[in-house]
Each structure stands twice: as C-alpha cells, then as structure tokens.
Amino acid sequence: MELSVYTIQLVQDLMVVGLAPFLSGAISHMEARLQGRRGPRILQPYYDLAKLFSKETLVPEQASWVFLAAPVVAFTCYLIVPLLIPELTTFGLPLGYMGDILGGAFFLALAAFSISVAAAETGGPYAQLGSSRAMTFAALIEPTILFVTFVVAIITTTDLPYAEAATARASLGQAVRPSHILAAFAFFLAVLSDTARIPVETHSSTLEFGMIDEARTLEHSGAAMALLKWGSAMKQVILYVLLINVFAAPWGLSSTRDASSVLLAIPIFFGKALGVGFLFALIDNSFSKLRLFKITEFMAAAFLLSVLAILILYVGHA
C-alpha cells in the first residue's frame, strides 16, 4: 500500500510527538544501568507527563500572559521543525522545502527565546539566571551551527538537510570526506550542548547553581510544565534526527512511499537514536561537568572543528 506524501508528513510529526518521551526514558534507563542503578522505567516520562497534565498550573504574580504562552509557542516550534528534516524518507516531502537548515534553526531558536523570556519575567532568581546563561551559551554555539551549515552549503550547493543526507548516501567518498566528518563531529558537540548534557550541563541535577537550561523552567507547573518537558524531549529527537539522518548515518530511510517501508524506518531510526543515546550516556558517565567559565573552551573546540571543516573544504576541497 502506498501512502500519500502528506500522510507520511503526518506520520513524521506523530513519531516525534509520540515517541520522544520514550527515547528520553530509554536513555535515562541506560544511564542508570551504566551507573549500577536500577533506574526509572522506560515509560516513566509518559507517567510524568500524565501527572503534570492533571496538576494545577500556577502563575507567578508578576508574570503576564507571556509566561503561559511560551510553552505553547515552544511546543508549536518543535512541531514545525520535524516537517523540514529527513526523518523517515530519503525523498523530500512537500513541506520539507518550506525551510532549510537555517529555517529549522530559527524555529529552535524561537522556542528557546520564548522559554527564556517566560523565565525572565517570573522574577524568580534561578529562572532568570538560567535564562541569561542559556542565551549566552546559545549565542556561543550559534557560530558552530552556522559553519556546519556553510559546509553543507558548499558541498551540496543548497542548505537543505535532505540534500546533505542524499550526498552522504551517494558514495563512501562523500560520507568519509574529512570536511563532512569534521562538520558531523562539530554538530555532535553542538547537540551535546543543546540537549543539556555533560560536559556542559548535568541534565538530571537538582543543584540550581550549575543549571542552565533546566533552571529556566523552575517556575512552571502543571500543563505548562508538561508541555515544556514534552517539548524538550521532542527537541532531543529533532537534534538526533539531524545528527543521524543528515550527517552520521543517513541510511535505513525509506526511498519509496510504500507503507511497510516507511513504517520500518521508524524502528530503524529509533535503533540508531538509542545507539547515539548510549554514547551520550557513556559520555555522561565518563566525564565531569565543566565549570561554567570553562564551557567556552568546549564551545571553542566545536567552533574549531567547524571552521577547520570549512577551511579544508575551501582550500583543498577535502
């Protein structure tokens, strides 16, 4: 049975919405096992979301409508980005050409911005601290994302994620060309930073002074908090899709509209995502969190890789 391209597009979004908490739960479970703990159930994030949706939403006295609108705006942004990136198919879907990599990055930035604005207007010191830090580090990692986009643009003459994935699949030479590997590694570091992972942030910490992203949502509760948590899990899936299906391993996607082939791409993607998640859990267990003022070194390393990628591409076409 052949699916229409619009149905596939819908399936992509549903996959991100429906399975994002599963991926978060599975990674937390792996992390706990690596630390010798029993860990939470894999489905725990679903129970957490259900609990939060049934709770009352409280709004700080000083906060305006922005505080309540921000989680909805962020969640909507995380619903739009999956339309632009290759999740299940090798061929571009109709809405996939609405925006390029930068378009996707703008939506992710808009989500981060709205959450930060909401945090800033709560008046809570830790939320404001997190908001300020998140914006600072987002600005520092942004050049890396830009240079990775430039690499894609120079290699494919477009900056469409579908085109880069197709190029990497086209030949082994393209997949292992030094600039592609460097860009992939730089993007990997950016994903580590954007998903609040060690060495940038301890995502499971309850120590406010070390928090960056996590601190921004401290004042939220109830359904708003549920949307933020769900959105955060979706953002993780989106970044994994970009890392895996565009740079690191763009294989295993469906090249036809056949229903079985499209649906098979879902477990294949999650298999690869669990592999990346395992790697992240290993990094979490092997390294310590960097001191706040040392995070710039991490960002500098990511920037270095992306700039070197551009240089060797520009000078030696490597």
Binding site: V5, T156, T296, A300, V307, L311, I312, G316
Partner: protein
C-alpha cells in the same frame, strides 16, 4: 504526487588517497590544538606519540599507494623513534617531577584556540597560493603548514619547558607530513639525518628540563626573568 526528487550539484568527493591523507594531516593538526590546552605534561607527551603515530600511518599509506619501499623503512624508524623512544625518554625524564603544567598558558584557552585557528587558516591559504599542479593532496600540504605554525604558537603561548620541547617535536612532525606528501621518494639517508637531528634535540631538551627543574624547582619558564653574567 510522486516523491520529489532532489536535483543538486554536489562538490565531488576527493579521491580515496587524498581523502585519507587529508584526514591524517587533520589529525596531526588537531593533536596540536589538544596540546595547546592540555593541563598535564604527560598528556602532551601522549598526544605527541599519537601525532607521531598519525605520521607513521601517512608514511605507510604513501609507501603502499606510491610503491615506495623506502617509505616503509621511514615509517618503521619513525615508529621506533617518535612513538616509542622519544615519549618514553621524555616521560622517564619527567619521572619524579611535578608534571602539572596547567596555568602556564599566557592567554585563556578559548583565545589561544581562536588565535591558533587564525594561524592555521593563514598556513592553509599560503599553501593554496603556491601553484602546485599535480595530484598532491593540497589540503594535506596546507595542513602540514598549519601544523608547523600552530607548533610555533604552542612554544610561544605555553610558558613551561615541557610544552616548549613538545612544541618543537610537534613542529618536526608537521615538517615530516609536508616532506612525505611532497617528496615521499626522499632518500632514506636524508630522512635518517632528520631523525638524528631530532634525537639530538631530545637529548638537549632533556638536559634543559632537568637542569631547569633542578635549579628552580618548577617547569615554568616565567621565573627566567633575569640575565646573569
């Protein structure tokens, strides 16, 4: 509506040989960037051993692809001297010495990285301006130049004797990459002369490190601020 096809013109991937040579040269440069920020002298020595191993890998690759039997000998001698002997000798010299060299950076790490990046870019662009018209991997040659310049920066920006010695050795690795890429058929005798030079430098730096540490009790060169007759 059928699947939308992508019609983009992609930049051709480099040939396999160039791609691998470029990747190895890149690792040589990246090892130097790691040396710039490493906090322990033994980490620097290990990074140097890794960097040398990359050079050995490049020599083996060239020997196999260009059918140069001498390059196998160069690879073997390189492995023995740069991967085994020099790191072992330097680590031996540092035995019993406090090897913490953190804090010897003259600038902050992020600033050093950015300056090193600018210097590496300068090296790459210089080589691009040289009209080399052959099948040589141009990027590898440029990266060798970048490795030499970043090694200079390592010597300048880290104020401790170990970093300065390792910087000099790493510089030699950059030159090795350039000579391998440009002239893999260089006579074995010439290569052996280079290795002899390197060994002399190791002994010289070894004596320097011991004497300096013996006199000042530190590896830092910041204390060398007076000229005595």
């Amino acid at each position: 509506m059928g699947p939308a096809l992508l019609a983009v013109s992609t930049l051709a991937a480099p040939p396999a040989f160039s791609g691998v040579a470029d990747a190895i040269a890149l690792l040589v440069v990246l090892a130097e960037f790691a040396m710039l920020r490493s906090a322990l002298a033994r980490t620097q020595v290990r990074l140097y051993a890794f960097q040398s191993l990359c050079v050995v890998g490049l020599a083996v690759l060239l020997a196999a692809l260009r059918h140069v039997p001498e390059a196998y000998a160069v690879a073997g001698i390189s492995f023995l001297i740069k991967v085994v002997v020099i790191p072992a000798v330097v680590l031996r010299l540092l035995a019993g010495v406090e090897t913490e060299v953190a804090g010897s950076e003259r600038l902050k790490v992020a600033s050093m990285t950015l300056i090193a990046l600018a210097v590496a870019a300068f090296g790459l662009f210089i080589l691009e301006a040289v009209p080399v018209t052959s099948t040589l991997p141009v990027a590898a040659l440029g990266l060798a130049m970048a490795a030499v310049l970043v090694a200079f920066l390592l010597v300048i920006l880290r104020a401790d004797v170990v970093s300065q010695a390792i910087g000099f050795f790493a510089l030699e690795n950059g030159v090795s990459v350039a000579s391998l890429v440009l002239a893999s058929r260089l006579p074995l005798l010439a290569e052996v002369t280079f290795f002899f030079d390197l060994l002399v430098a190791v002994v010289f730096f070894g004596v320097l490190v011991r004497v300096h540490h013996g006199r000042t009790g530190t590896l830092s060169t910041e204390v060398l601020d007076r000229l005595r007759g």
